[in-house]
Symmetry: C2
Subunit: 141 residues, 2 copies
């Protein structure tokens, strides 16, 4: 089926793009740390176990990660008033700044590369962005 071949090509393209970005913009913070901060920013305070599930790492792994973020002042633990066993984690102002800086650094590196493309390629990429956004947000629970 031609459609399936085309989807394979898109999948290959995305896969190659992911590898390429990793090479272009090596980040200082670990990827779990960055995505956890990102989740905290967009989804508000969450439990340790909820964060662990979202990031696909173990609960002790997330506890350690949050310890690091807390030591760096980028997140803080606050009590869950509805359940004394649980702890909610909230991103701090410092954390938001760190996230914004990292994001800007990577986007800026990408912009340089994108600017080197010809007009049609740039247009094709711009036209694909809404599809990318819907792809990403489809399975948000």
């Amino acid at each position: 089926m031609a459609r399936d071949r085309e989807l394979t090509r898109v999948a290959d393209g995305i896969e190659a793009l992911v590898m390429w970005v990793r090479r272009q913009a090596p980040s200082q913070v670990s990827s779990s740390t960055a995505t956890t901060l990102d989740t905290l920013q967009s989804a508000g305070p969450l439990r340790i176990s909820e964060l662990a599930a979202r990031e696909s790492i173990s609960q002790p792994g997330m506890t350690t990660l949050i310890n690091r973020l807390e030591a760096a002042g980028q997140a803080e633990r606050i009590p869950d008033t509805t359940d004394g066993r649980a702890t909610l984690v909230r991103i701090t102002t410092v954390g938001r700044t760190v996230l914004a800086d990292r994001h800007e650094a990577r986007a800026s590196a990408l912009r340089v590369e994108l600017a080197g493309l010809n007009h049609d390629d740039r247009e094709a990429l711009i036209a694909a962005v809404p599809a990318i956004e819907r792809l990403i947000n489809r399975n948000r629970n």
Copy 2:
């Protein structure tokens, strides 16, 4: 400048896509291992130091990584006949299989997600693939 805003949006989209893929298709092998195997497959036998430079890790780090690959039978050291100090690393048949399997697993997971999009979004993504390929291959030395 409107063009710069649009490039920023593309960069943001790609950045979000990279995070999304990492969540969708958590890989068993480490990312350096995968990209090193990928480099060995596409660029042929290379020196340890050349591989280290391409993957942006230290030379001892690459030595260790190659030790792991060699122990797993996925790569092998061969002498560099032009320089007795150097070692060339070559991907094995097993390595090619591992790489193909990993690639297929990720692409297949992506295809499932892509198949859930509507027609126009799929077309937009398919249309963007050539641009992605040129973006990635622009700075190949």
